[in-house]
């Protein structure tokens, strides 16, 4: 195989093809996340202003907690035989990481799109005036979460306690994403439209976390491959 991006695309395409057959993201993870989005207003009761105010924060939390599960779905190439085969093919481990992260990103964007539409319908959150900033925050959040989740998915591969351990590792690492994403959403509302500087600072935080995640993932890909054997 030749070329970093070519290898990454091949891996991403393969992951998405396998996921299309298994359908875990959209038939298991997404419905469970939607159930959580429905349960929150039920727990709050009939207080519509509170439900409205909690809409976007609930969206970010649900996206973080359920979106990270996309990275360690059963249909990823976690089987040792599959990984051995990929390694013997001469694949650059960093390209493998990039490919898996790209596949997770595509699935996560779809997941977030459906979750956001349901949030807007169920919660009627305050109007968002600065849609470009909000969209940028969504995309940067998705990139960061997919990169961090992929890194931790690789790090916990083969461990018996992976189902509990991986979320424990991803959640705190992804908290800056949640923090910055929710602040952008808040500032993108009509009440705060006159504060573009604040939005830019939080978008930069998202970019920084994404960059750290990408660099950490690419640099640790080879040591992780040696580790997992």
């Amino acid at each position: 195989m030749t070329g970093f991006w070519f290898q990454a695309r091949v891996i991403a395409r393969n992951e998405l093809l396998v996921e299309r057959r298994g359908g875990e993201t959209f038939s298991l993870v997404l419905p469970f996340a939607l159930a959580a989005l429905i349960m929150i207003p039920l727990a709050i009761g009939v207080d519509q202003p509170t439900i409205s105010r909690l809409g976007l924060p609930a969206f970010w939390v649900v996206t973080l907690l359920f979106g990270m599960q996309i990275a360690w779905r059963q249909t990823t190439a976690t089987d040792h035989a599959v990984r051995d085969q990929i390694r013997l093919s001469g694949l650059d481990p960093a390209a493998g990481f990039a490919g898996r992260a790209m596949a997770n990103l595509i699935l996560l964007v779809g997941f977030m799109g459906v979750s956001l539409v349901l949030t807007l319908l169920l919660y009627t959150p305050p109007a968002i005036d600065n849609w470009p900033a909000f969209t940028a925050a969504l995309v940067l959040f998705a990139i960061g979460l997919s990169v961090i989740s992929t890194l931790i998915a690789d790090l916990t591969l083969g461990l018996s306690a992976r189902a509990g351990l991986a979320p424990l590792l991803v959640a705190p690492l992804a908290l800056p994403l949640l923090f910055a994403g929710s602040r952008v959403a808040e500032l993108a509302g009509e009440a705060a439209i006159s504060r573009p500087g604040g939005i830019l600072a939080w978008l930069l935080v998202l970019v920084l976390v994404d960059l750290i995640g990408v660099i950490a993932g690419v640099l640790s890909a080879r040591p992780l491959e040696e580790t997992l054997g």
């Binding site: 890194l151 790090l155 916990t156 461990l159 351990l165 705190p172 040591p223």
Partner: protein, 240 residues
């Protein structure tokens, strides 16, 4: 050093640590009360050294992790793991003492809008995850391999937490001791510096003791009989 035997060097270290810790406590209690915060300000003599030690401990964890990846000697991994445990302890202490101080002075135990507090809590959780990753790895080598990567990546948080008060001007004040001078009275600075030294010695003592325990644990695990260990593979299959 024999098992269960504490060397003379360590005894001297522990004795010096105890003396400096006592001196730090006496100085912290004898400095005059702060003009506004009164006696609540004394908690900074525990809070600031705890936070400093957390940074030091996680830095040592990253160093031990890098050395493990370069040299593959389990002693480096034990250094990383022991330091992370102590770092988590002192991060927890920094959070708790900060909360105790924050309630009377700021009116809240914890403010999630504050960059320093939020980033410290995140760092605490990440290193709890680091310890969990070690615990659930199947062997010492596997734990070292996996945890070393997280130990190196996670240290990025240390400068972020330290500079968070400069990057985001929220509730937490900026550094009290800076290159251009201190924002506190000279007697308070002296007491704080002694306590910084005391806590650093405490860290070194804890680290030395924990590494001895970790080494003995590794010996015990290696000496433990394994089910099926007496079974010998047939000739010709052993190298397969």
């Amino acid at each position: 050093m024999k098992t269960g035997h504490v060397s003379m060097t360590l005894k001297v270290l522990y004795a010096i640590t105890a003396l400096v810790v006592i001196a730090g406590a006496v100085l912290a209690l004898s400095t005059p009360p702060e003009a506004v915060q009164r006696t609540y300000a004394r908690i900074l003599h525990i809070h600031v050294p705890s936070a400093w030690l957390a940074f030091l401990a996680f830095g040592v964890t990253a160093f031990g992790s890098v050395m493990w990846r370069l040299r593959r000697r389990l002693a480096w991994d034990r250094l990383a793991a022991s330091s992370a445990e102590i770092g988590v302890l002192f991060t927890g202490l920094a959070i708790v003492t900060g909360a105790i101080w924050g309630r009377p002075v700021w009116g809240v135990f914890f403010d999630w809008g504050d960059a320093r507090m939020a980033s410290t809590a995140v760092m605490f959780l990440v290193y709890l995850g680091y310890l969990a990753l070690r615990r659930y790895s199947p062997s010492p080598e596997a734990a070292a391999n996996r945890a070393s990567i997280l130990g190196i990546v996670a240290v990025i948080q240390v400068p972020l937490v330290y500079f968070s008060v400069n990057l985001f001007r929220t509730l937490h004040q900026t550094q009290s001791i800076r290159p251009d001078g201190a924002t506190m009275d000279r007697s308070m600075v002296a007491a704080l510096l002694v306590n910084l030294a005391a806590f650093t010695l405490l860290y070194v003592s804890f680290l030395a003791a924990r590494m001895i325990v970790a080494r003995e644990e590794a010996r015990l695990v290696a000496a433990r009989p394994v089910a099926g260990a007496a079974v010998i593979s047939p000739p010709g299959l052993s190298d397969a």
